[in-house]
């Protein structure tokens, strides 16, 4: 998880993000990586550069083949958790980033896509 966060930081630095944004992205990636480790057996994180008009962004895709999220609205509510933690991961990650999309299919896995614009 620490490696994923530092990779994200370096990727963001390469794209010219401010130092504060680099660490915000790294923190979000760390939360996403933790979710994969905690809830799913297998998953991966990918970082991509995205462009929209003149703006450049960093897109992170966190995909796992875990059990999926049963109650998505609840999982996105603050202080909800089935993993025995504080349950701040998903809504917190959403607040850290500019865009947040989540797809989850029971029994197949979860994909979370987040983007931060520079």
């Amino acid at each position: 998880m620490a490696y994923a966060a530092l990779d994200a930081r370096n990727f963001a630095r390469g794209l010219g993000f401010s130092v504060a944004d680099q660490y915000t992205i790294a923190t979000a990636v760390s939360e996403l990586a933790q979710n994969i480790v905690k809830y799913a057996d297998f998953g991966h994180l990918t970082f991509q550069t995205v462009e929209k008009g003149a703006s450049v962004g960093l897109k992170v895709v966190a995909k796992d083949t875990g059990p999926g999220i049963e109650d998505l609205p609840n999982a996105m509510a603050d202080k909800f958790s089935t993993g025995g933690t504080m349950g701040v991961g998903l809504p917190g990650t959403k607040r850290l980033m500019d865009e947040f999309h989540i797809d989850s299919v029971l029994g197949q896995g979860t994909q979370i896509v987040v983007t931060k614009w520079r």
Partner: protein, 154 residues
């Protein structure tokens, strides 16, 4: 995946009967656990009046790491020794607030000196303390302002 940190050694200093623990790099959860153990060992064996954990070198604070630190301060407290976190930088604080992590029970100070003053004042004899109101600790020590334009709402 965690960094190979089972043997994560840190240098700790003692000054004015306070243990000062400077953390200079990004930590994995395993490293935080290792540091927790080293601090608890010192609190157990040394006559300390306080512990200062200086997080100036830590930029990435996620929920797991924050809870590791909260747990550490709680354990130290149960052992009868107060602790103060110092050196939280604006980026880390913005993450802590965005993640809505619990910071009510944690004492913070901006600088090592402030933390030491607070801890050593608390260690005076009961009669001395009775003469004065307790040193007040406020959240105002934490820089709550976000860097301009850096943390747009999702």
């Amino acid at each position: 995946m965690t960094l190979p940190s089972q043997l994560h050694r840190i240098t700790m200093h003692e000054t004015q009967r306070c243990l000062v623990v400077p953390i200079q790099e990004e930590l994995s959860q395993a490293a935080a656990k290792s540091i927790q153990q080293q601090i608890l060992d010192r609190v157990h064996t040394r006559p300390l009046v306080g512990v200062v954990i200086d997080l100036a070198g830590v930029q990435i604070i996620d929920s797991a790491l924050w809870h590791a630190f909260i747990d550490t301060t709680r354990m130290i407290k149960v052992m009868g020794v107060p602790s103060v976190l110092t050196g939280l930088n604006p980026g880390a604080v913005a993450s802590i607030i965005d993640l809505q992590l619990d910071c009510d029970e944690i004492e913070t100070a901006m600088h090592l000196e402030d933390a030491l003053t607070r801890l050593t004042q608390g260690a005076r004899t009961p009669s001395e303390v009775a003469d004065e109101p307790e040193a007040s600790v406020t959240e105002a020590d934490q820089p709550m302002d976000r860097p301009k334009g850096s943390f747009a709402d999702a």
